[in-house]
């Protein structure tokens, strides 16, 4: 590894949570604006996490502590691997380590809320994982490679070839962001039937670690989105801004749905869109 790659990796590891937290702050501000409220300061997510970090640890068993740490490390590793321009599919599989251990931590507590949330979280993962793999395969169709280095070397925006697959990717992004209509395992609004679902039993510093890992995850997914317009900075920023704006709007105009609806809807729509897009590519190649 040369010096440039190492510095990229270090920068990514430092900047990713800052960007993720900032994004969460902006998200809250915009949401408040949509709802006619003033909203918290943009840096509120950082204040929250710092406060949580200072709290006295309280857990039901030590597996929770183990699992949040594994989640954090896996998420950091994913971002680092992305900065190293590694293999997309490999990064995806490393991401599942974190996701699985987050669920294991929730399952480790005999609490009805976290158990229920964990089951739902598993179904959420079941929903978005195949879609992400399909998106990566689509990228491979266009660029002939799963390696980010090769994908970046492709001279046209992939978005132009894979517009429908980008939509599929935003499904996964919505689920990962825990936004409506897919926030079934842990809603941002703690006033419903499963409290905070999969996150219920995580508290204090461990919840803070979870939050930081979540920021890494979001940045990673957005980084994958950015691959779709990697040829120009302006295109990239516009694409990401439009995407995130759309996420916030969808979050505000849709209700939470049931897991069954989510699974059937997302798979049906996602897989059909993917096949349309593939057909489009085949048609073009003739």
């Amino acid at each position: 590894m040369d010096f440039k790659t190492i510095s990229f990796v270090i920068l990514a590891i430092i900047l990713a949570p800052l960007a993720g937290g900032l994004l969460a702050g902006i998200d809250r501000r915009l949401t408040a604006w949509f709802q006619g409220r003033f909203g918290p300061p943009i840096l509120q997510p950082f204040y929250d996490v710092i406060k949580l970090l200072g709290k006295e640890p309280q857990v039901v068993n030590y597996w929770q502590i183990f699992c949040v740490h594994i989640y954090l490390i896996a998420s950091i590793l994913c971002v680092a691997l992305f900065a190293m321009q590694a293999d997309l599919l490999m990064i995806f599989f490393v991401m599942t380590i974190g996701a699985v251990f987050m669920v294991v931590g929730a399952l480790a507590v005999p609490s009805p809320y976290s158990q229920l949330g964990a089951q739902r979280e598993l179904i959420q993962m079941l929903t978005y994982e195949p879609l992400l793999i399909i998106v990566f395969v689509g990228i491979y169709f266009v660029t002939d490679s799963f390696k980010i280095a090769d994908i970046l070397a492709y001279d046209r925006p992939i978005f132009l070839a894979l517009p429908l697959l980008y939509l599929v990717l935003t499904f996964a992004l919505t689920i990962k962001l825990r936004k409506s209509p897919f926030d079934i395992s842990a809603s941002h609004h703690a006033h419903q039937e499963l409290v905070r679902g999969v996150l219920t039993e995580y508290s204090g510093p461990y919840l803070a670690i979870l939050e930081i890992a979540h920021w890494y995850d979001i940045v990673l997914i957005l980084a994958i989105c950015s691959l779709f317009w990697s040829t120009s900075w302006i295109g990239l920023v516009i694409l990401l801004a439009v995407t995130y704006m759309a996420e916030i709007i969808i979050d505000n105009v849709t209700p939470r749905m049931t897991w069954k609806w989510m699974l059937t809807y997302v798979w049906a729509v996602g897989i059909s869109l993917s096949f349309f897009n593939m057909a489009l590519l085949y048609a073009k190649s003739f």
Binding site: I73, S111, L122
Partner: protein, 644 residues
């Protein structure tokens, strides 16, 4: 020692030891099983030192080996015929006759030995198989020594039946070794039928009504494969081809003539590898004592099926048939994963997961690119280790808690901490990076990327896999920390040793996967493919379309686990007894806050109970098996039609 001698030991020693096991004396039996295990394991390791080798043994104890095999073949078939007669099972009798008659015709009139070439052919692939069979298989047999003692103790038998049990267990290892070394298809067929027979006898070992029923099913399904096998041999000869595996693989590629018998051989492989719609025999095999399930599922039997399909893959490279094989395997992968999701019976989950993994291996053989073949061979190894480990864990757990239902394993970490930790290793090495099974899956998905339907099924199936392993992993931990440290778990030495050995192997061999690939898999692949091969350098496995940074992930995650263990066991943070109770909206017992439950309506105390959700109403086994079988049969018909 020379390679031919080592090969001879690997095959003959288990046969001899098996016969001696029939002398039903405990110390002798233990010595035989452990001794044979050690010797064949060492022999399999020593064999790696030599390169690819092929030869024809001139005589075996002064007898012409071809003649010996032919005699034993007929003897075995007539024994099976006798069993069919005694059970009054017409189906098995017909299937046996359908093998005896063509085989006799072949032996007598078709000059089977023409242009034979070497009868034994050993390359790195055979060596890998031999190591898996000899080492993993032997560990299972050793585990069986302790397990069966406990098992028979429960059954309260007047006379021990372990002699018969270990006769077939050890014989199985010899037959499997013979199978992977044989180049002469008649030899291969003989060993093939021995494994069928052994598995029948092992499944019905307990002689309960259900055991006999399931064993019978296993027998007829595998005999169906046997019929296809013999038919393939007859067709090869009628086309004037020698009955040599290597000749067939290297024959003119994709000639239509050869595709029909190769298709039949693949069919035989599918029955043995319990691909859909033949999965029921392997699931039925669960009634047998756990060492048998472990043996059938991990290192032997089903691996013989995929071994044959992988061996034959170069013969059908680039054909439509190949694509159908890929599709067929992918359907099995997905279908079995769905079925696994609906199960709460631990052994059933393992069974369906085995079928699912075998489906992926078959799919890889169908994809037929060097990346896919690498995935297939590596998956055989890693699946064998982790699956054997999981079966042995479930067996140990079952003997302790009296249930194989995973819901009964909730919080097992406080009851059986040692076994549970080993089971955790088993589960994690099965489906998470950086371990070998996942590495193979990664290879398979990338290799299948040019087949949209196949990759879709692999993607969905792999997400399902993640769900059923993930929740099993989670519920093993579901517990509150007890006030007192739990009692240390006692484990007999013969149980602990195989468990530990397999757990260490699962992790260690994943770590040396790049080396294993370069030294053992690559030479095999280079014979048939010259482009797009994976290169393993400095712990990174890469080809032109992808790369897996194995060592970086391994190192970071290892450090991560060490850090997480330190963080979670830190005395500074939390003392025992300082743990809180789960959140129940403030409805907990005010007197004893450690009591799990909450005050329900009208102030009535309610213990809450959570279970995993198995979606019985949607994807219950009885509900969807029929449909899945229907789809699989459809694809199987198209697949076999694809040879014309």
């Amino acid at each position: 020692m020379l390679a031919p001698q080592l090969i001879g030991i690997s095959i003959a020693l288990p046969f001899i030891a098996a016969v001696l096991c029939l002398i039903n004396v405990k110390p002798l039996r233990s010595a035989l099983v452990i001794g044979t295990g050690v010797v064949v394991s060492v022999a399999s390791l020593a064999l790696v030192q030599s390169g690819a080798i092929s030869f024809t043994p001139e005589s075996f104890l002064g007898i012409n080996p071809d003649g010996l095999i032919a005699i034993l073949d007929f003897a075995l078939l007539f024994v099976i015929l006798g069993i069919a007669y005694r059970m009054k099972n017409k189906l098995i009798a017909v299937l046996t006759l359908l093998q005896i008659v063509p085989l006799a015709f072949l032996e007598l009139f078709m000059n089977p030995g023409e242009n034979m070439g070497p009868a034994i052919y050993v390359d790195q692939f055979s060596m890998i198989m031999c190591m898996v069979i000899s080492i993993v298989g032997s560990l299972i047999c050793v585990y069986g020594l302790a397990y069966m003692k406990e098992h028979e103790h429960h059954l309260k038998l007047a006379t021990s039946r372990q002699g018969r049990f270990f006769f077939f267990m050890v014989l199985f290892l010899g037959a499997m070794n013979g199978l992977v070394f044989s180049n002469n298809l008649l030899w291969l067929y003989f060993f093939w039928e021995v494994t069928t027979f052994c598995s029948f006898m092992l499944i019905k070992h307990d002689d309960t009504e259900i055991a006999v029923k399931n064993a019978t099913r296993a027998l007829w399904m595998n005999m169906l494969g046997g019929v296809a096998f013999v038919l393939a041999l007859v067709i090869f000869r009628s086309q004037g081809l020698p009955l040599s595996l290597q000749e067939i693989i290297t024959a003119e590629p994709a000639s239509k003539l050869i595709l029909l018998p190769v298709g039949l051989l693949c069919f035989a492989g599918f029955t043995k590898a319990a691909q859909l719609p033949f999965q029921s025999w392997l699931c039925g095999a669960m009634v047998a004592p756990t060492p048998i399930s472990a043996l059938l599922h991990s290192s032997t039997m089903v691996k013989a099926g995929v071994y044959l399909v992988i061996r034959l893959a170069p013969a059908f490279a680039g054909t439509v048939f190949s694509n159908y094989v890929a599709l067929f395997g992918a359907v099995t992968f997905l279908g079995a994963a769905v079925l696994a999701l609906s199960q709460s019976n631990g052994k059933k989950i393992l069974a369906y997961s085995t079928i699912s993994n075998l489906g992926m291996i078959v799919a890889c053989a169908g994809i037929n690119t060097p990346a896919a073949m690498a995935a297939a061979v590596l998956l055989i190894v890693f699946h064998a280790i982790s699956k054997a480990l999981m079966f042995l864990c479930v067996g140990t757990i079952e003997q302790h808690i009296g249930s194989r239902d995973i819901e009964d394993m909730r919080g097992l970490i406080n009851v059986m901490p040692r076994t549970t930790m080993v089971a955790v290793i088993g589960i994690v090495t099965m489906f998470l990076p950086p371990f070998g099974a996942l590495l193979s899956k990664w290879m398979a998905v990338e290799a299948s990327a040019h087949l949209p339907l196949v990759v879709l099924m692999l993607a969905v199936g792999s997400a399902l896999t993640m769900v059923f392993w993930g929740r099993w992993l989670g519920l093993l931990m579901t517990s509150v920390v007890p006030d007192k440290a739990p009692l240390a778990e006692s484990q007999p030495c013969l149980i602990r040793l195989p468990l530990l050995a397999l757990a260490v192997a699962a992790v260690l061999i994943s770590f040396v996967a790049p080396g294993l690939y370069s030294s053992m898999v690559l030479p095999v692949l280079e014979r048939f493919y010259d482009t797009d091969l994976y290169i393993a350098a400095r712990g990174v496995i890469s080809n032109n379309i992808g790369m897996f940074a194995l060592y970086p992930v391994f190192v970071v995650m290892t450090l991560g686990v060490i850090y997480a263990v330190r963080a979670s066991s830190s005395k500074r943070l939390i003392k025992r007894g300082n743990y809180v109770t789960p959140y129940v909206c403030g409805l907990q017992d005010p007197g004893d806050s450690r009591k799990l439950g909450f005050k329900g309506p009208l102030g009535v105390w309610a213990d809450f109970k959570t279970t995993n959700w198995y979606m019985e109403s949607l994807i219950g086994e009885s509900r969807i098996t029929g449909w899945i079988n229907l789809v699989a049969i459809g694809i199987l018909i198209i697949l076999l039609a694809g040879v014309f």
